[in-house]
């Protein structure tokens, strides 16, 4: 693109694009750190939300980690950037083990996740064949949400541990309270956090009673991390989306709109006055198709619309999204007035789900409370 100088303001950036408020991000990171300090449990931040070296460096306790990732692409990229303590928190498949061994041979303490004897046997075989060790965590199902062994399924836990043998060294147990995303109110969130804690602590007890060391007892989700009051028996907490927060988290009640650090900058491209619509150049390609607030008390459409200063207009949401068109309208039932926005005016849109919206972009335009762009941070995708 022909441009004489780098854009330095939200008023100059080509739209749509992704904006990250570094001040808000730093406060979000500080808030989670303070909570973990209060609870006395170390944090293993999940780097899947940011997929950025710069964001990761601020989230982690040290440049070497610890960290959690959701893809081998993240493991590779963060390993290249010097991270040395990584949990790959998606169930392992045999075809991915050569790359795990390769990263481990480079000095990265990369642990895998599994919930079956078949996976454990494959891990043990790969480790034995290579003469190396692959540490493994057993995934525990704390809420019927996804994968994992039931915490009281002692036989399966012990069978997996036995199948791992010495090459596939059992490192511990791990769970994720996916149901916490559907919880409402402090009591419900605390109950999710306690269910999460109890599930892994129970599983660890079964394993230890069976003669297996189980040094790691790992829980994690942003809602439970921010709601737990007691993490007895837990050795680490994983969380990720807190770094940016989003409308789903605000809907659950674990953050305010003023804490949402991520937004999509868009430009007004038209009006349909009879319908009360303002059209912008950010559609689902820039916002993602995530409709996570659709099942919450307040449906934010494809995002909540703010001025360039990051302050919401009120009831103005992205009511519809095509590939490159967003339709701004007042939410149904609103008694507010449509703001006057002319062709070429700019808005910022808070995302439903930060992980999904950020994934539609290849860079962050970093601001700090105002419209000056102080840095551009690349982000990556892929597997």
């Amino acid at each position: 693109m022909t441009r004489l100088s780098l854009p330095t303001s939200l008023h100059d950036l080509p739209t749509p694009c992704l904006v990250l408020d570094a001040g808000r991000m730093e406060r979000n990171i500080d808030r989670m750190r303070a909570r973990m300090a209060d609870l006395g449990v170390p944090l293993r931040p999940h780097l899947k939300t940011g997929k950025s070296i710069e964001v990761a460096q601020q989230m982690m306790a040290t440049p070497q980690g610890p960290a959690t990732v959701s893809t081998l692409a993240e493991a590779r990229r963060f390993a290249q950037a010097g991270v040395r303590d990584i949990v790959y928190a998606v169930g392992i498949t045999p075809a991915k083990l050569p790359e795990i061994l390769d990263l481990r041979a480079q000095g990265v303490d990369l642990a895998v996740l599994l919930d079956s004897v078949e996976q454990a046997a494959a891990v043990a075989d790969a480790a034995r064949e290579s003469g190396a060790v692959i540490p493994a965590l057993i995934e525990i199902d704390c809420d019927g949400h996804r994968s994992g062994v039931q915490s009281d399924d002692r036989d399966r836990l012990l069978a997996i541990a036995a199948a791992l043998g010495e090459g596939g060294a059992l490192r511990g147990v791990l769970t994720h309270a996916g149901d916490s995303y559907g919880a409402r109110g402090e009591a419900a969130l605390r109950a999710c956090a306690e269910a999460e804690r109890l599930a892994v602590v129970t599983a660890a007890q079964h394993l230890r009673a069976g003669g297996h060391a189980c040094p790691v007892v790992s829980v994690g989700s942003t809602p439970t991390a921010l709601s737990a009051t007691d993490l007895a028996g837990v050795t680490e907490v994983r969380a990720g989306v807190y770094v940016f927060f989003d409308l789903v988290m605000a809907g659950i009640g674990v953050c305010d709109h003023q804490e949402i650090a991520l937004s999509v900058l868009a430009t007004v491209i038209g009006h349909q006055e009879d319908k009360g619509w303002i059209l912008v150049d950010a559609g689902w390609m820039a916002l993602s198709r995530d409709r996570g607030t659709a099942s919450q008390d307040v449906d934010q459409g494809y995002g909540l619309v703010c001025g360039v200063d990051g302050a919401p207009f009120g009831d103005l949401i992205v009511a519809q999204a095509n590939q490159e068109h967003g339709v701004l309208a007042l939410r149904t039932g609103s008694t507010g007035r449509l703001p006057r926005l002319a062709i070429g005016d700019r808005v910022r849109i808070f995302p439903n789900h930060a992980c999904a919206t950020a994934a539609q972009h290849d860079r962050y335009h970093v601001v700090r409370g105002d419209d000056a762009v102080e840095a551009i941070w690349p982000r990556f995708g892929g597997w």
Copy 2:
């Protein structure tokens, strides 16, 4: 990633990844070409679905175009690849005009889209200041779906044409029958196609009666392109998703499952036997959050599951999706049986919406009816 040789089979590729069946794609392209030949109207293929030089080269009538794009990034990339006749079919904003002028100065006949006097005046100003011409199409609203001038709003049409003046040369009118995605059955689809045709032909008549040449009369959507029986007065058809087709198009009835050329390859990572779930390593990051079939007669969840050979298992869909987890289950009410799929087995998943799913990936793994990968084609994103 350490790999001794390039993967040459769907059984070797790292998962999740995007698979393109070139034979199916070529047949889809041939089918659309044959229809346009029957209707006697040239095609201006929309390149936003593929975002790939290789796919574009097969869709276009010549290496120079004509073509339609949805972003300036597409305009730039396809211009670099030699395309010289491009319509940027999203409403223009003043800040994007310098890049339009820049591409035109490089010899690309790039036309812009607008639906307001404000945009027309900005285009005319930019053209005058640079001493160049910027051809513009007026967007017509044929179904209340998105942006555009009502076809009978003669005054607004003439005011826009007047504001364009000589620098912003009026090239014609353009519409998109977005409502056709919600149509069901041949009669409804034909009605959408006729509404689309009538809207632009009517608008062109108003402009011509007002003394303006209106050489281009452009319609377009895959459902209407495949359903129209008469395109009298239309000078070109735009369509894009037909190149791959998808479950939404199959649900509308304009393609069969055997014509869907795009799929996501995934690996089984676990089971929850009591729930009838099979877990795979393709979640919404690989499939997109698009749920376009949710409002159709057959809800395909996050995708319809096939074997590695591309044949659907029947009622097996991606019932739930997390970031990197897909939950395969039989659709509600199915009397079928869950297929036996072991850890490490592979499946292919047809997407709800090809544009959205392809956008989650940076390359196509090209096959031709079997499991041999014959090429890797890059795709791009961004704006």
